[in-house]
Amino acid sequence: MMIRKRRGGLAAASALAAAALAAASCSSGGGTASSSAPASSAAAEPVTIRVQTFGGGSNFGYKNAITKWNAEHKDIQIKEEHLTDQFEQQYWPQMIQWLQAGNGAGDVVGIDEGGMGLAKAHPEWWADLKEYGLDSRQGDFPAWKWENGLTADGKLFGLGTDIGGMSICYRTDLFKKAGLPTDREKVTALWPSWDAFMKVGQQFQGKVKDSKFADGTNTLYQVVLYQEAAKNGNVTYFDKENNLIVDKNPAVKTAFDFATKMSQQGLTAKLRNFTDEWAAGTQKGSFATLGCPSWMLGVVSGNAGDKGKGQWDVAGVPGGGGNWGGSWLAVPKQSKNPKEAAMVADYLTNAQTEASIFTDFGNMPSNTKAQQDAAVQGAKNEFFNDAPIGEIFAKSAETLQPVFLGVKHAQVKNAIESVIQGMDDGSVGYDKAWKQLVDDAVKAAG
């Protein structure tokens, strides 16, 4: 009796094992079966196009556009996978890994400007969108945005989504508390220069104790860096021959010095952008200002949630214009449905979609036809107290100076931001920070 019972247990265990093994082979088999379904059989079963993005908040602002597409196209369904808020630290390394492995990347993937240098250098990763007739889109984009989407050997792999533009997002409630004006015109007038900006910060910090003037050192550092880059040959960490020039480019030092001063004067909440504590800080009012390229508006509104509506506003940036960020969409060669993926990339970057993304969320279109759209130029953002974002960002789009970014820009950017963040949170001494910044940049550039 005992023995029979024991055998029963063992038999059950091996049955379980067999079932589990069968399930394992099923699930992996199932995965390949569905993804390897030929594109031509689309009529039978809808093709799912996975669009991978990053950024946080409303990130690429695709929510409404995708809902609309999916309602109109029963045969091709878009599924957005927002992978992470952090581009350089997480999204891009993982994407490179998947692109090299030939598995894992979506059918359409977003690439930030910092990754484009490397993407261009690897034509083998991408489907050629010319094969799907998308070279017809050239007239939609400014020359620099278009050319950045071409690989070294002339293949079209990326279509422009948004551009940065520049503004400062600020909390009206906290400004009020500090006795500062809250009206955006007056706020803009407060800071014609970065020195003035810092003075406002000191004034603010003198009155408000439990919130900081700025989020951290990083968003403002980026704004200053890109403004200064425009004065220094439109390069940041690499020159146009891809030589590392971190220690030689005055733009980097100027931006770094500004970040140092902000930190030393205790004006920052010491939060690094795109971390969870930073995002939650937007909700909680941990800080009153941050550097806001157009696409940051959606990040702020998304992070702050509905309760934040009306608390935030958008003002002009000290020192005039500038550009930070902006992305492209590409179709990896490993996509099983490149034709449909190209259609989706085409749709998500067309004038109508880019215009609606701007009016819904704030990402400034790179598509020139969308920029000229009356709805875009007259757009107001409800979340930001009906700020006339069309007016604010259209100006910066006109004067935008494309900045050259090297092949390893994303890697170097991450290293440098880590040092600046470390300086702000006290893990790197102020006196050692610059040397370490240069050293770490050299290391990251490999």
């Binding site: 992470t84 630290q89 997480q90 390394p93 939650a280 092949v407 893990s427 990251a444």
Partner: protein, 316 residues
Amino acid sequence: MSIDTLPRAVRHTPHRPPGRRWRSRLDVKAMPYTLVSPYFILFAAFGLFPLAFTLYYSLYDYDLAGTTEWAGLENYTKLLADEDFWNAVVNTVGMFFLATVPQLLLALFLANALNKRLRLRLAIRMSVLLPLVTSVVAVAVVFTQLYARDWGLVNWILGWFGVDALNWRAERIPSWIAIATMVDWRWTGYNAIIFLAGMQTIPKDLYEAAAIDGASRRRQFWQITLPMLRPTMIFVVLNSTIGGLTLFSEPTTFYNGNVDGGSQGQFQTVAMFIVKQGFREFDYGYAAAAAWLLFLLILIGAFVNFMFVRRIGGTK
């Protein structure tokens, strides 16, 4: 003697077919090897192969651009001069001590307590084992929230004592402490149960004899329990050594799933360093070389700990 000349024997073992003897000899000779062979075959495929190829990879220089060049021992010499690598080694060893020492002491005292006559014995034993059956990443997420700078429970409690909010993810020692608590929370109860099992095998008359000699409880613990626990201790310590020196899940989750381990690598472990080099910067050769050095570190750690435990409680 053939089988059919021995009908009785046949009746004794009914289904003995012809040729049985030859088969039986084969069975005795070959079966032992057959039984151990699955292990060694799999080890060759998933043990020897990776080890050998890790060595092979470590002799090449890989680049993000996809180029591969013979590098000889350059990866090793570079590693030994790499501050970031040594930072990871220091972090790993530091967190290992910070986690293991209190953990083993607590486990020992907990086991001693559990070894008393208790009501709800099973319930208490199960409760201390509870952390073991949770998901490691899930728990790390919870702890990370508890250690949040601006709204974490831990900082809030420290605030009662007038301590300023600590930035647990930015300051090196606090970050180690935070991670060590995650590790300890998970493993202390388990190790206590293992120690308890060991304690229960210690013959009772040893204690009785000691009691007659007038030894106090505390003295009995140090003089009898601890030395008799040595085999269990070796098992537990070796386990903790390998686990501690390959620490990855907790510190990675503590920084949002990012293997940088803090803005300045405040809590980046060697395992995280390997993943960063190999799969974030795509320098496979460098990662492979670091893997070999990690192995060396584990061997040293295991040896040192083994020797240490052997000395505990006066060696015989």
